[in-house]
Each structure stands twice: as C-alpha cells, then as structure tokens.
C-alpha cells in the first residue's frame, strides 16, 4: 500500500514538473522559439491563460454597457430558473419581461448600475415567501437594487430590496381627509410581513 502511494506521488510530481515547464516557458524565448513547434506554442499559451486567468475585477471594468447589461440579465434569470419550480405558473415569464425591460439598452442611463444579484436574491426570497396574488411593478435604484411596488387605488407599498436579506419599505395611504400618510421601515426580509402587518398588507398583495 505504501509502495503504491509513493508511485502515485511520483507520477503526480512528474505531471507537475511537466506542467511547470509550460508555465515557465513564456519567460524563455529559447524554449518558445527553439524547442516548440508553433502549434505547441499556441497550446502552451492556452495552458498559461488557464493557469493565470484574468481576475473578474479586471475584466468587468473594461466591459461595454451592452455586455454588462447582458451579463446582469443572465445572472438574475439563471437565479430565477433555479427556483422556478416553486413559482406559480407564468410568474417566471412576467419577471423575465420586467428584467428585460429594465435593462433595455436603448433606454439605459450609463451612470446607473444594472440589477444586482444580491438585491434580486433578497427580492426573490421575499416573493417566494409572500406568494402575492397581485404581481408587483418593478424598477431599479441608481445602485442596482430592485424596487417593487404594489398599488391599490391611491395607496402604495414600495419596497427596495438590499443585499443580505434587507428591505426598506414605505406605505403611502390617503386618509379620509384626502391627506397622504406614510409609514417607513427598514428590516430583514424575515420580519417584513410582521412589520407591515398593522397596515393591512392584504390590501396590496391580494
């Protein structure tokens, strides 16, 4: 058993040495131009790229706006698809239509951030828990947080979903004298329903 293990270790070391010789190659022109064929050099470059990938932080800063919007759209759609089996029929399509519309390149303000996955995750978790009969209107903040609104007559519940399961909400209602009254809250999504409970949330969600 010990003997077998040492043989494996020997093989692993040999493979590592072979791979290391490729990674050292870019610094030695003799190796590149003298010892390897052009085909091998291309192969070597590809291996080097795989071993030293460009960090996402560098690639994202050079992205064009359409690419950034496409990536953000894909990211949140994939996230939606992973929980689609828990959504009522047709909800996924509605959410996708809204995301596509909010990320419309022809309408996009380049100073804004596209929808952030962390904010959308907070929204989606709340949505799955609430299962509102009434589908919300959706919009974005400057920083890419998703903002949902439920309206009934002149009354409105607005909620901005923030990373790490936070939500900032506002309920605007018109009193008997026609004056607007507002209540504000800032809580974790697990406490969202409890927080809005005194203000008849069923008026908005059903």
């Amino acid at each position: 058993m010990v003997h077998n293990k040492s043989r494996l270790e020997y093989k692993a070391q040999a493979i590592k040495n072979f791979a290391d010789s490729f990674s050292k190659a870019p610094d030695t022109n003799i190796n590149r131009q003298g010892l390897f064929s052009s085909q091998t050099q291309i192969f070597q470059d590809q291996i080097t790229k795989l071993r030293n990938p460009t960090p996402p932080s560098l690639t994202s800063s050079t992205k064009e706006v359409p690419e950034t919007l496409f990536d953000a759209t894909a990211e949140v759609k994939i996230l939606t698809s992973t929980v689609a089996m828990h959504l009522e029929e047709g909800i996924k399509k509605k959410l996708f239509s809204q995301i596509d519309s909010l990320h419309d390149f022809d309408e996009w303000d380049p100073e804004d951030k596209p929808l952030q996955k962390a904010s959308y995750k907070s929204f989606l978790r709340t949505f799955l828990y609430l299962r509102p009969a009434k589908h919300p209107g959706l919009g974005l903040s400057h920083t890419g947080n998703i903002v949902a609104v439920w309206m009934t007559g002149s009354n409105k519940l607005t909620a901005e979903f923030i990373a790490n399961d936070h939500v900032k909400w506002v309920i605007s209602t018109q009193n008997e004298d026609g004056e607007l009254e507002r209540v504000f809250g800032n809580t974790k999504i697990g406490r969202f329903i409890d927080s809005v409970q005194p203000y008849s949330p069923e008026l908005f969600f059903k």
Binding site: S101, E107, K156
Partner: protein, 149 residues
C-alpha cells in the same frame, strides 16, 4: 445671475428619469399612469447634490429647455421622462423634513441650464415626498418635439 445663485421661487426645474426608474408592469411596460421609482430622487453614492435642469434658463419654453438638455447628453431614451417641479413647492413641501435645501444654478460645460438641489439629507422619506408630492408633473420625452438647431 451668477453661478451658485438661488433659482427664483416661481421658476421650475426638471429631473431626468430613465425608463429603468419607472415602475414596469408584468409585460415590461411602464405602469400607467406613470409611477417613478422614489429612488430616482436619491443621490448616487458619489454625489453631493441632486442634478436638475432649470426650465426658465432661456425663456419660459419647456420644449426649448428639454432640447437644451438633450444636447448635453449622448443618449436619451424614447421612453424616459422629465419630472417637473416648482422651486417654491420644493422648498415648502420639503420643509417638514429639512429647511436647509437650496436650489442653485450650477452650469456645466455641456449644459448651461444645469442646476442642483443642495443639502439633501439622508432621509428616505424625502425621496418619497419628492416623487409623490413635489415632482408630480411628468413629461414624456417622446411628446416633446425635436427642434432643429
């Protein structure tokens, strides 16, 4: 009038709102009547004041004012809107939250009518009041004709 001067109370300002800051319905269309996201009236993380456009900079012509704004931007979405407010209304209606707000002329290289709302507090109720009670006249960009320069 000099740079940094307060805009007259009877004058008006516009806040540009792209489509992504209008609530859209389940078909992806802006909800009718249009409803701006209150966060459209919040400062961006790197901003100290809220950018607006002074309507009466060059006479009292809304079309001309919007045309001037368009010239200052590379791109303006067809479905974007302008939210209009009167300077006096802004001061009066925001006074229960803050009395420090100032609306001043701050021309930029690309936009001579550029102005700013200064001393906006970090109070989430203000953006809601701005959206629901102050910037209530909404003008669709598509409804304002393109003037020939």
């Amino acid at each position: 009038m000099h740079k940094g001067a307060n805009l007259p109370d009877e004058h008006h300002i516009l806040r540009y709102i792209p489509k992504s800051k209008l609530f859209v319905d389940e078909d992806g269309e802006p909800i009718e009547p249009l409803v701006p996201v209150p966060q459209a009236f919040e400062l961006r993380p790197n901003e100290e004041s809220l950018s607006v456009h002074w309507v009466e900079y060059d006479g009292n012509d809304l079309t001309k004012a919007i045309q001037l704004f368009r010239l200052s931007r590379d791109k303006i979405g067809a479905k974007s809107i302008f939210a209009k407010a009167k300077v006096l209304d802004l001061k009066t209606k925001s006074s229960p939250i803050t009395k420090a707000i100032k609306i001043v002329w701050a021309p930029s290289n690309s936009n001579p009518a550029h102005s700013v709302i200064k001393h906006i507090p970090e109070d989430p109720s203000l953006s809601t009041i701005l959206a629901e009670e102050i910037f209530t006249e909404l003008i669709r960009n598509s409804e304002i004709p393109v003037l020939k320069v």
